[in-house]
Amino acid sequence: MPLITITIFTPLVGALILLGMRGSAPRAAHTVGLAASGVTLLGALAIWIRGVDGAGFSQVEEAAWIPSLEVAYRVGVDGVSVPLVLMTALLFIVSLVFSTHITDRAPTYVALFLLLETACLGVFVSLDLILFYVFWEVTLVGMYFIIAGWGYEDRQRAALVFFIYTLLGSLPLLLAILALYLGSDPRTFDMREIIAAPPLTGVAAGLTLLALLIAFAIKTPVFPVHTWLPAAHVEAPTTGSVVLAGVLLKLGTYGLIRFALQMTPDAFREAALWVAIVGAFSAVYGALVALAQRDLKRLVAYTSVNHMGYIVVAVAAAAATTDAATRATAIDGSVLQMVSHGIVTGALFLLVGMLQNRAHTRDMDAFGGLLRTTPVMGWLFILAAFASLGLPGLAHFPAEFQMFLGTLDVWPVLAAIVIVGIAVTAGLYLRAIQAVFLGEVPERWARMHDMTRADLWAVVPLLVLTVLIGVVPRLVLDLVRTASEVILP
């Protein structure tokens, strides 16, 4: 059974059904959305249970597309992609659970989300360069319409900036793809062939790597090309932010591993230190800028710059080292960090969104003492914030620990600098918790109602996983290890 194909296209089928349901009740639309994303989650679990072999890609499904150009529909998974597929399926279903209260053009909204889900899953399982690019670009279109249609006040401008900025970022990727294709012999768009025998050398490899780095740096995002992120997050609807931070940013770091590391390894080794320096700077910069925010959503958005910066450093360390064990450690940490960041930041954005739905503001100075009026929301936020700042026993800790371990072997000084970022993050979260949830309750928030059932159904699964991964990181790491040991031949 073509399990992967069924899994990634189920949401698209749901979206097509919704197109035929225009004008129907929001309730029916949300039901279709939940059913489609639920089936997708089951499919993702089945892919996980089927498992992966150590070498190369597993569960490969192929179909002819343009044989004369060696373009084909090829999908498959390895230890790096399976955790990301699971995380994506989970984040989409909780986003759809959370958005069941949306009634404005609900069928279109749900259809766009499902389209976006197919595209995101497609990126993680594509084994063909053209197919990868197709899915990659569709994510932009889906996200553009979600921000432009259901965002906050200045949504049109934010959506426009997001679209043009990230399109500018994805076109170098197209150039790199063409370079890889033209360099391969015999010519092919098959990613497995290109990974097995990286086709480019010398200047061509260097330029291709540069194009890849530009594309993925914008997506990740890394300083100084992160500027689209705060605007997009602030104006996006809550669920848009969840998917943006949770899934779309991972496309950048996934590409860094799958393309830059695996397809241009030698050039990446040469350039690794520079990439790592940019990543480290970005991590510290993100933490410091987050510290200066009074808007909760912007604060969470900037911590993403910080967390994603660590991944860039760790992947660069994996590229630089010649020691297979160090490399495996760094990759393990990077992939786990992607998953942890997805679920923890997803939870944080949902909680901030709930706060905004109730108070219509995100200014942390406007709040205070909410732990007394809305204890459930308060404690869950505190749990998520502690996870995000890297508390042992929660999801980010094992990931960051492994990444630092990997980096320490290669560049001890950089690892030390990056640790500064963690200290700053701890400070900013503690300050946010204090401002919003501790102290005196302002009069106008005295009767704020606590989380609804839908809210709990959205957030609790993410936080349960946060604790689970924190306590038993092997759940994910064993899977990643199958790929990270053989990530480079």
């Binding site: 597309w65 197709v134 932009l140 049109q156 043009i164």
Partner: protein, 460 residues
């Protein structure tokens, strides 16, 4: 002797069957118009062009010439028929609401058929005489189509178009005499004889670029295009932006295959023109307030992309494939965009809320415009990937980079239509019931060409 000549003649006519059917269709509609039977003109045109297209299918894969080498039956020429003839049929359908009930209604349809023959002659030209014939035939029909409404705007636009066209055609004919003088032959396959005759080769090449660049509306020979498109009916704009353009581009590609690169550095010239066309077209489109003018400038930019494929021609099979795929994609997406523009109106303000009032048409327009940007999985993406791939392969990476930057720029252009479509309309505007058949067909093609690229590229 006599026998072989008759045999040759019947063989040649057999290979020319598609063209003959289109000519007969044009004549038949003209006669219908004279007999005041306007109602049969549109169906005749649609059926005639589709039959001609069907007759062209068996010619795929042939690699031959007729009339002593002057007219080619090869992949490029046959694909031109397979793209342009169905386009003409759709244009005829699209014309109905705009020309129904007007005086000399049937003439419009016959002009479509005859102008298409001109474009096909350009795409199939194997001889400089056919280049001239095709250009003149395509031009005469086009002038008349633009002037058809006979109001002040249309007359002015047609006049500009006519004067510009006469001058460029004259320059082309004049320049082509240098090629004849240099090579001693009018056959394009004999262009290799120009080796070593730099002056003659250059003079002829410049003239051809002027003549065909004008037909293709590539910068800097595009000045007529926005006025001509905006002056006439929208359907004329749709037609002119596709059929003569593709004919001229394919002719240029054939010349590129034959012209020795050593004698004149034509690749660099075309590459520069491509870069100018793309950049100028997109930048100017950015400030238009009429959607027809915006699409006119966008089609100038798209000519630039076509020229990228011309630059790479003869170096690699990829370039030929890219031209065919992009031509098919361009015909579908551009026709679709113009069809929606015909239904909604020329004023950019009229698009506000269209996506909410008419979700199907709004989504179709968004898909056409995204396809013009080159966003997958729409048809335009596959065309552009192949074009840029061919350019890199031919050593013109800088041109591919400019093309890619222009794609980003063009997104800003097309979002100027897409963004208001999904905003709250200020007031309810009555939207005329226009045939959805044209944009519906274009939509299906725009979405499925990507899946069928194999059939467009599997050539010799």
């Amino acid at each position: 002797m006599n026998d072989t000549m008759t045999m040759d003649m019947s063989r040649d006519l057999g290979l020319l069957l598609p063209e003959i059917v289109v000519v007969l269709t044009g004549v038949a509609t003209l006669v219908a118009g004279m007999l005041r039977r306007h109602a049969v003109a549109m169906p005749t045109t649609v059926v005639g062009t589709l039959v001609a297209a069907a007759l062209a299918i068996p010619l795929l894969g042939k690699e031959t010439t007729v009339f002593m080498g002057t007219y080619r039956i090869d992949d490029l020429a046959v694909w031109a028929k397979l793209v342009l003839l169905p386009t003409t049929a759709l244009v005829a359908l699209m014309a109905v609401p705009e020309v129904r009930g007007t005086d000399r209604e049937a003439t419009v349809y016959s002009l479509f058929s005859l102008t298409t023959v001109g474009a096909l002659a350009l795409a199939g030209a194997g001889d400089t005489m056919f280049l001239v014939l095709g250009t003149v035939l395509a031009s005469l029909g086009s002038f008349t189509l633009v002037a058809y409404p006979r109001d002040e705007r249309a007359t002015e636009a047609a006049m500009k178009y006519f004067v510009y066209g006469s001058v460029t055609s004259a320059v082309m004919i004049f320049g082509l005499t240098f090629w004849f003088g240099g090579s001693g032959s009018t056959l394009l396959t004999d262009l290799g004889q120009l080796e070593g005759r730099t002056l003659a080769a250059t003079a002829g090449f410049v003239a051809v670029v002027v003549g065909l660049g004008y037909k293709a509306a590539a910068a800097p020979f595009h000045f007529w295009a926005p006025d001509a498109y905006d002056g006439g009916p929208v359907v004329t704009a749709a037609y002119l932006s596709i059929v003569p353009k593709i004919g001229a581009i394919f002719a240029l590609a054939v010349i590129g295959q034959q012209l020795p690169a050593g004698v004149v550095d034509w690749r660099t010239v075309i590459a520069v023109l491509a870069a100018i066309s793309m950049t100028y077209g997109n930048l100017t489109a950015l400030v238009q307030t009429s959607v027809v003018r915006l699409l006119a400038y966008s089609s100038i930019a798209q000519s630039g992309y076509f020229l990228v494929g011309v630059v790479a021609i003869a170096r690699d099979e990829l370039a030929m494939q890219s031209l065919v795929v992009f031509a098919a994609a361009y015909a579908a997406m551009n026709l679709g965009a113009f069809a929606v523009a015909g239904a909604v109106g020329r004023d950019l303000g009229a698009y506000r809320g269209v996506g909410r009032a008419r979700p199907g048409m709004g989504a179709a327009m968004a898909i056409f415009l995204f396809s013009l940007v080159g966003i997958p999985p729409m048809a335009g993406f596959f065309g552009k990937v192949l074009l840029f791939g061919a350019a890199i392969e031919a050593g013109y990476t800088w041109l591919a980079v400019i093309g890619i930057l222009n794609s980003v720029l063009s997104l800003a252009v097309y979002l100027r239509i897409i963004v208001p479509m999904y905003q709250q309309p200020e007031m309810e505007r009555p939207l005329g019931q226009r045939p959805w058949l044209v944009w519906g067909t274009a939509l299906v093609l725009t979405l499925t060409i990507g899946l069928g690229v194999e059939y467009l590229t599997s050539m010799t």
